[in-house]
């Protein structure tokens, strides 16, 4: 199909650097790889503390920290139309051709996607989590997702289980949903040069200590394993509400010398904690795609995990031992892992991971999705409204009302602040061999252009 097109992509989410997490890393690495492929990528997120305004990251990645403060769990206050002016300005200024929203839980993402569709931009959405269907929060979230995805060009999910979950929740046709997994930065997660000694087996756990990540399972499993295998030691990294229970368990069974609690581990130190162990234990109760397992496998650790969500799809069967989320089954799995541990070579595992997961591959596959999205016809308002009407008897009409008001506000903005008056950012490609001085000069130049 002709020469590759250069896209101008806006990534929108509430979750980005300086926060560290699955979604944040995904957006960052994907943006970097897309930049290397020659596209233009701009990221939009909310302000983090004092970090507000425009920032530039590695490779010329421009990040708009819109001055909205988060109000609940890192999400901005959902004001429906409050973000329309700033999004319109960003879309016109950067000449964006495609908007890519991340994470269903992010209110900024939903609003940005709605406004982008009003302005006629193509829209792609990536869902990173699994949600239920039964409780009030999930029902509300699914309806919001149905609204956003009623008019999306394409959708991406991170695993096949996540695709099934998203299709059920939003009513999208399955052909519109692409499955593109996350990847891991294998250059950063290299195994140790010297493998830790084999006379003592170290099991590493790094996760937020919350109910969802199975901290209660850990409380049951750790004493049992310590009782059965006297040469096993645990290292637990991470913090959360369930840390108290783990400390209590430690005291109750007198495992202070066998269970080491590290507290919150900053992202830069995760590798050093991982390479001090032989086995990585993941006890989550639900995971769409577990990046922690990838990091552990890239460092050469054998993984023991619960068989939930998308975890069975993540690693080949010889690199992971799966167990039901039940303490006795997990102890059996750890037993099996300990027995196959001598056959594992961390360097071989790391080399396999380099072939299996690669951010550049993810970017190429995402590029295919973008090409598809841009081929979708641009529908007029009336045709879009018919899509929203099918969302439900009452909800459909409410959604149509929301979209119509958005359209009217957009027209009002066009009169009040015409597009010709908004300065457009010139396209400047920072090539690889750029001098740092020149890069700084360019940054200042760009910064001046954007300050209004």
């Amino acid at each position: 199909m002709g020469e590759p097109k250069r896209h101008r992509i806006l990534m929108v989410s509430d979750f980005f650097y300086p926060n560290f997490g699955g979604v944040e890393n995904h957006i960052y690495y994907l943006s970097q790889c897309l930049l290397k492929l020659g596209h233009k990528v701009v990221v939009m997120t909310h302000a983090y503390g004092n970090r507000s305004g425009v920032r530039y990251m590695t490779g010329g990645l421009k990040v708009y920290y819109v001055p909205w403060k988060p109000f609940l769990m890192q999400n901005t206050l959902p004001t429906f139309y409050g973000t329309l002016p700033i999004i319109r300005t960003i879309l016109i200024r950067e000449k964006i051709s495609l908007v890519h929203g991340h994470q269903a839980f992010s209110t900024l993402c939903h609003e940005a996607l709605m406004h982008s569709r009003t302005m006629g931009c193509r829209v792609v959405f990536t869902d990173h989590s699994l949600y239920g269907f039964g409780d009030v929060g999930s029902i509300h979230m699914n309806k919001v997702l149905q609204f956003t995805l009623a008019d999306v060009s394409q959708a991406i999910c991170v695993s096949h289980t996540s695709k099934e979950n998203t299709v059920l929740r939003s009513g999208l046709p399955p052909e519109k949903v692409f499955v593109i997994s996350n990847a891991v930065d294998t250059a950063m997660f290299k195994p140790a040069l010297e493998r830790p000694s084999d006379n003592e087996i170290v099991i590493v756990v790094i996760s937020r200590l919350v109910y969802r990540k199975g901290a209660d399972l850990l409380v049951e499993v750790i004493p049992e394993v310590c009782r059965l295998y006297p040469n096993v030691r645990f290292i637990v990294g991470g913090d959360g509400p369930k840390r108290v229970r783990l400390e209590q368990m430690r005291e109750k069974h007198s495992l202070q010398d066998r269970v080491e609690m590290l507290g919150a581990v900053p992202h830069a130190r995760v590798r050093s904690v991982l390479i001090s162990g032989h086995i990585f234990l993941n006890s989550s109760l639900t995971e769409a795609f577990c990046i922690a397992i990838l990091e552990a496998a890239s460092c050469g650790l054998l993984t023991v995990s619960t068989r939930v969500g998308g975890v069975p799809e993540v690693l080949p069967d010889d690199m992971v031992v799966l167990a039901e989320p039940d303490p006795s089954d997990m102890v059996l799995a750890i037993n099996k892992a300990i027995s196959i541990l001598p056959t594992i070579d961390p360097q071989v595992m790391h080399d396999r991971m380099k072939k299996l997961y690669n951010w550049h591959d993810v970017a190429k596959r995402t590029e295919i999705v973008y090409d598809r999205a841009l081929k979708c016809s641009n529908q007029s308002l009336l045709e879009r409204l018919s899509r929203y009407l099918s969302c439900g008897a009452w909800a459909g009409k409410l959604f149509c009302l929301v979209v119509v008001i958005d359209f009217l506000l957009f027209r009002l903005l066009q009169l009040w602040q015409p597009a010709e008056d908004i300065e457009v950012v010139p396209d400047i490609l920072l090539s690889q061999g750029e001098d740092k001085r020149d890069a700084d000069k360019l940054r200042v130049f760009n910064g001046d252009q954007c300050l209004k």
Binding site: L130, R212, P325
Partner: protein, 303 residues
């Protein structure tokens, strides 16, 4: 590049696997939807199939409690009108207490002397406390007009009925309150506050003591008594409920025609219309379960 149909140069292309590693699977697009898509979904796994007669029988306990509350309201009305004087009220209290204990003794198979003594002691403390506090209740709302009292009491009683734990009379063991929910505590408090308001309208402290004892007896112990009867014999439960309903309807009829019609309508609604409606709505139930669900812990988390 449509799903399922791909131009393959080689006659045997590798099978599509449900895995996320290895990048794009050769011969398949990323949006390929396999036949195994959604094969692990389980629908309506926990839905209980309901039978109309059983639901109607279960709804009898709700109408029974409605009648009990209606009877309490009736006694309040008669007392406030001075139709019932304090001696007859006191007789009523004592007879209720006595018959309650009798029922407990008859229906409880293993009632030890210890437990009985425990109950008696509690009732004694309770009655003494009420007697001592009666003068306080009498002067509690002296500065508030009767209209306000009525305006508050009726909504409080409705709140009590809405939030009442109707399943408590079927599950709870006598004497043990296993995990009272927030709503059952709120409903109990609402009923007690309503009784206090009504009691404070009465002229003498004996009146107040008698009516408070009556109201509190009924609100606190009626669920326990109905539970014991239901546990002992279902037929006895049905007989008791129907006789109670008949008695209530007869008394309300003599009081006020309109209230009688309303009560009758409410009882019919609860016993007949609601079960039918529930069973009709069950057809729309759509419960989805699958591998994406959050795993449930099979052990109880004790903090």
């Amino acid at each position: 590049m449509d799903n399922g149909v791909a131009e393959n140069s080689s006659p045997t292309r590798p099978k599509w696997r449900k895995v996320a590693y290895g990048g794009m699977q050769p011969g398949f697009d990323d949006n390929h939807t396999d036949e195994s898509f959604l094969e692990d979904i389980v629908m309506n796994a926990n839905v209980v199939k309901r039978d109309m007669l059983k639901v109607m029988q279960d709804s009898v306990s709700i109408s029974e409690y409605l009648c009990i509350v209606a009877l309490v309201g009736l006694v309040w009305t008669y007392t406030l009108r001075s139709t019932l004087d304090e001696t007859s009220l006191l007789y009523l209290d004592v007879s209720l207490l006595g018959s309650g204990f009798l029922l407990l003794l008859l229906t409880e198979e293993m009632l030890s002397v210890n437990l009985l003594l425990h109950y008696l002691l509690n009732v004694f403390f309770f009655t003494t406390g009420l007697y001592v506090l009666a003068p306080i209740y009498q002067t509690l709302t002296r500065s508030i007009s009767s209209d306000s009292i009525w305006a508050v009491t009726v909504p409080l009683l409705m709140l009590h009925l809405f939030l009442h734990d109707y399943s408590g009379s079927t599950v709870r063991a006598p004497g043990a309150l296993n995990n009272p929910t927030l709503t059952s505590c709120i409903s109990l408090n609402a009923s007690i506050v309503a009784s206090v308001f009504i009691a404070s309208r009465l002229p003498s402290s004996i009146h107040v003591f008698a009516i408070m004892l009556f109201s509190l007896q009924v609100f606190l112990f009626a669920p326990l008594i109905t539970y014991c009867i239901k546990k002992y014999s279902f037929r006895l439960h049905l007989c008791f409920a129907f006789s109670l309903m008949a008695m209530t309807l007869a008394f309300v009829y003599t009081l006020h025609r309109l209230l009688f019609v309303l009560l009758l309508g409410l009882l019919v609604f609860v016993t007949v219309v609601c079960p039918y409606w529930l069973i009709r709505l069950q057809e729309y139930k759509f419960e989805i379960n699958g591998p994406w669900d959050e795993a449930k812990l099979c052990f109880a988390v004790t903090d």
